[in-house]
């Protein structure tokens, strides 16, 4: 903006000022249009791999490379989805994925809530020291642990089982950290009132705290669901039977004996991506909140 000295505001000056502000305003407006067109183009380019994934899933095998950069082939080949379904026991794999992700998310959330309650509301020796050690493992790469975990699963005869996919990764510090943060911001008066009325701690947790911590619980549940849903290295190590595989592992098993069958593979990939897309669309607020609190530590 211009800085006007208001010593002698004669008409000339005022007119010039008005003209100048108008030109600034139109420049601002065109700038905003360019910016908006730009972000649409960048956003489309960014989303392109998913469009390409879906387009390829509808192409006949013979035309996947001959169609070059065109989205459409000579016909729409829905049968890729059928092929994908039969190439690996895909129905079974999807059920496994949901079982692992749902049970894993439930286990993680329950355990996190109990720990968070103890760390936020109970008093015991070395509480904060213990919590710090626990929190320190947020920066520990899980990849460091896969060898001993595999030997452990071998000894327990759990290799090739869904529990092996679920249990070892339900005890990270993120969930407890997030819920504890939230609990610390809540007044204790509700709980004290319930205590005076004679409620035990279990009752307080169930009837007083649980309704209040719905938001962070949802964040923890969504994040651990996605982590289990997308996990690859651990299933690759501990599962070698396709009937126990989850979707990412099933996808990696596709490219097999005779090269890669891209049509069905992209059909399967599209199916794998859809739940994640739904999660993003339906739960964007929880995701944004969770990320800004430090979820997905360093993926």
């Amino acid at each position: 903006m211009t800085t006007e000295t208001l010593a002698q505001p004669d008409a000339d000056k005022r007119l010039a000022h008005r003209r100048r502000t108008r030109s600034v305003r139109t420049r601002r407006r065109t700038g905003r249009y360019i910016s908006r067109i730009g972000v649409i183009l960048v956003g489309l380019a960014f989303f392109f791999p998913f469009i390409w994934m879906f387009a390829t899933s509808l192409k006949p095998t013979s035309e996947i490379f001959s169609t070059g950069s065109s989205f459409l082939a000579s016909r729409v080949e829905w049968s890729n989805y059928v092929t994908a379904w039969t190439a690996i026991p895909f129905g079974r794999v999807i059920i496994n994925s949901f079982l692992v992700a749902v049970l894993g998310a439930v286990l993680t959330t329950v355990v996190s809530l109990l720990s968070a309650y103890a760390f936020a509301r109970l008093q015991f020796k070395h509480r904060d020291k213990l919590f710090l050690v626990f929190l320190g493992t947020l920066v520990l790469p899980q990849e460091v642990l896969v060898i001993p975990l595999y030997i452990m699963m071998n000894k327990l005869d759990l290799v090739n089982s869904l529990p092996a996919l679920i249990v070892p990764f339900a005890f990270g510090a993120f969930g407890a950290f997030l819920i504890r943060q939230f609990l610390l911001s809540l007044p204790v008066e509700f709980e004290e009132a319930a205590r005076i009325d004679g409620a035990g701690s279990m009752r307080i947790l169930w009837s007083v705290i649980l309704p209040l911590v719905r938001a962070p619980l949802a964040v923890v549940a969504v994040f651990s669901f996605i982590d289990y849903w997308s996990s690859f290295l651990w299933p690759l190590i501990v599962i070698n039977d396709v009937s126990q595989a989850t979707i990412p592992l099933g996808l990696s098993m596709f490219s097999g004996e005779r090269g890669t069958d891209w049509g069905p593979l992209m059909a399967a990939a599209t199916v794998a991506v859809i739940p994640s897309l739904l999660v993003v669309i339906l739960l964007q607020h929880q995701l944004v909140k969770g990320v800004s609190m430090g979820g997905f530590g360093g993926r």
Binding site: S35, V39, G43, F46, F47, P49, T56, F65, G68, S69, V110, S112, L114, S115, A118, F119, A120, L122, Q123, K125, L130, F131, F134, L135, P141, E143, V144, L145, V146, I147, P148, L149, I151, V167, P168, F171, V188, R195, S201, S230, F232, L233, L236, I247, P248, L251, S252, A269, A272, S276, V279, V280, L287, V288, V291, S292, G294, G297, G298, R299
Partner: protein
């Protein structure tokens, strides 16, 4: 407002008066979480140090070899240094590109007003879709006669072999990884930008600061806590890179895209050397911890926490 994880555990919350503490009650509530923490995190961490001192085949008797695995790793295994160099190169490039681009995009989206949140979520999509699906579609796009080279051909450019040229393969992996991971930092930095008070920028404007000055003197210092958090997390994530080379290049051509975790996986599960793989795992652990500790030690110098 964002509450970034700080390591401050002290809080000012009034707690229910309890003269003797809640020892026994606390044990009951902590049992599941802490037992799991001990069995699945602490124990494996210690165990992998023990295993790394053994010659440990999956089936057969482990043989104690002391520090042999480490000595071989550092002096007798050229692949280790290749893999370490590749991982460091990946980590530096990935972190720098990711943070610079995320900062640029976050500021851009912030200036878009009501359009910002929609695009912020769009950029976040690859973070939550399974990495395997992301990597496979990129492999398809990057093949010699894939869509990227077809598009270049329409411009009259003969596209290279993105994944089988040792000069380009690592760059392709970095590009794919930045695409997949950037949305995370865009959201964290976007939340940081939202927390900056407009009055502050207005005051700077009135004091005659230009756009660049406002960015470097006001926005960056105010964002430094978010940037610090993003840097720590992005570097940790970059050292774990596995799925991209495993699915796109198999670590090749040669060993040019082989990484620590991929090499660890192969030693453990293809070459049946669980002891050596554990030594690699500990090398990874030590490197990540050192870098993270170094960053936290510089935190006070680099990060501005006064509002």
């Amino acid at each position: 407002m964002t509450a970034l994880p700080t390591l401050a555990v002290k809080d000012g919350v009034k707690r229910p008066a309890a003269s003797s503490g809640h020892g026994r009650l606390a044990v009951a509530y902590l049992a599941p979480g802490m037992l799991g923490f001990l069995i699945f995190i602490v124990l494996p961490l210690v165990a992998s140090l023990v295993i790394s001192m053994f010659d440990w085949p999956l089936f057969g008797t482990p043989k104690f070899v002391g520090l042999d695995n480490y000595i071989r790793m550092l002096t007798g295994d050229p692949v280790f240094w290749t893999v370490l160099g590749n991982t460091l190169f990946f980590a530096v490039c990935y972190t720098v590109f990711n943070l610079v681009a995320a900062l640029g995009v976050a500021v851009w989206l912030h200036s878009l007003g009501s359009w910002g949140p929609f695009f912020r979520v769009l950029f976040f999509i690859p973070v939550v879709t399974p990495m395997v699906a992301n990597a496979l579609v990129w492999r398809l796009m990057l093949t010699d006669d894939g869509v990227i080279n077809s598009f270049l051909a329409t411009l009259g450019i003969h596209g290279p072999s993105w994944l089988s040229d040792s000069g380009l393969a690592m760059g392709s992996l970095i590009a794919m990884s930045v695409w997949q991971g950037i949305g995370y930092n865009i959201i964290v930095l976007g939340a940081g930008l939202n927390a900056i008070s407009p009055n502050l920028l207005e005051a700077a404007r009135i004091d005659g600061a230009g756009a660049w000055q406002r960015f470097f003197r006001v926005v960056l210092p105010m964002l430094s806590p978010s940037l610090f958090f993003c840097t720590v997390m992005t570097i940790i994530g970059s050292f774990k890179v596995f799925t991209q080379p495993y699915l796109l290049t198999l670590g090749g051509p040669g060993d040019s895209t082989n990484t620590i975790v991929l090499y660890l996986y192969r030693n453990g599960f293809s070459f049946d050397k669980l002891g050596y793989a554990s030594a690699l795992a500990w090398a990874l652990f030590v490197i990540v911890m050192l870098i993270t500790a170094l960053q936290f030690s510089q935190q006070k110098r680099l990060v501005n926490y006064d509002n």
